[in-house]
Symmetry: C2
DNA sequence: GTCTATAGGTAGATAGAC
DNA sequence: GTCTATCTACCTATAGAC
């Protein structure tokens, strides 16, 4: 049930990874409880019993989905921040990376992390919380710098929670077939929070 | 399965109402899918079979919980707006009423409305959407007035979605035993959005 | 690694007595 | 209106063959 795993060569984990990605989509669309192990199996062309060679329980699959969602987003954000040339660029990266991870192609995993928290057992929560805190720490650093430079308001802890709430909620109303691209949406939302 | 019901004398619906209130708490704490009809029955001192005299299906209970959550919040907001003396007071009322409904005592119903949407059947959704739109229309009116007066930024449709997302997310981190009261939190969050 | 077959449990809902 | 009893269906997980 350990969340942090030793990395292996990708070929070795292909089957397991395909399962996690398929599970992310099913859990997002139907919810964890309504998704049966039979659903998961047939999504990867497998009988339900065979799943339990790769995972001990259905919940272990949920935890793997969530861990994937938050770690891959954290990695993308860290990379974007390292490339940013200005504080303003860093701020923009926060919004851009988060929304692309949440609303972009094949990115159901982060959404599962946000909305299926109640289905995670108490024993598995701490590991996921560590991963989430690591992500939020990146946010906090950038917001603190931005507040010191006068780009945003001062109460940065509340600001971080407020902004993340706004971004999370976009999954409820944003439609990709509309006029606004994800990057445009990120820019608009950043604009709302900048002190002029 | 109709959401909008003819009002009846309260005594007539006491049992039904107690059930809806108990269900709101269970659905919020455990999730709709994990809550069994046996859980619901024992929460009101009833056998599970007896529930089906009051409701045809378990889902009908979920819809009743959600309808209660959003209509009672809408009524409270409408009353608060009618009493407000200034535009600034109206803005404050948006935040205050929403957070008290979400974080206050015995107010699990609105939280269920926000987080169990996926468990609602397609046939029941339209009725709930009408109720939700009615609530959001109140927000939109006040934000439009505030933008015209220069109190908040101009993109009020995005602003409404952004603010509601921030407020919804408070259930994930706000703790009543902390330093901040719900009313204080409402004031702080309003402060973040005002143009100075 | 994946299959078939199934154990063992619990879910939502119904029927009829009171 | 509520109870008891129960139906039918489906769930996660396991066992052993291949």
């Amino acid at each position: 049930m350990s969340v942090v795993e030793t990395p292996r060569p990708p070929e070795e984990n292909n089957r397991r990874m395909a399962l996690v990605r398929a599970a992310a989509v099913l859990f997002r669309d139907q919810g964890y409880e309504r998704t049966t192990v039979r659903d998961l199996g047939s999504a990867v062309g497998m009988q339900s019993g065979s799943l339990f060679y790769h995972f001990r329980t259905k919940e272990e699959i949920l935890v793997a989905v969530m861990a994937l969602g938050i770690t891959s987003t954290t990695e993308q954000l860290a990379a974007a921040l390292a490339e940013a040339n200005s504080l303003r660029d860093k701020l923009a990266a926060l919004f851009r990376v988060h929304l692309n991870s949440l609303l972009g192609d094949n990115q159901a995993a982060l959404e599962v992390m946000l909305y299926e928290w109640r289905s995670v057992s108490e024993t598995a929560k701490p590991g996921l919380i560590v991963l989430r805190d690591r992500y939020e720490a990146l946010w906090q650093q950038v917001l603190d710098e931005a507040a010191a430079a006068g780009l945003v308001k001062q109460d940065t802890r509340l600001l971080r929670r407020t902004l993340l709430g706004s971004l999370h909620w976009t999954v409820q109303w944003y439609r990709r077939d509309g006029e606004l691209s994800v990057d445009d949406l990120a820019r608009h939302m950043l604009q709302l929070v900048l002190t002029e």
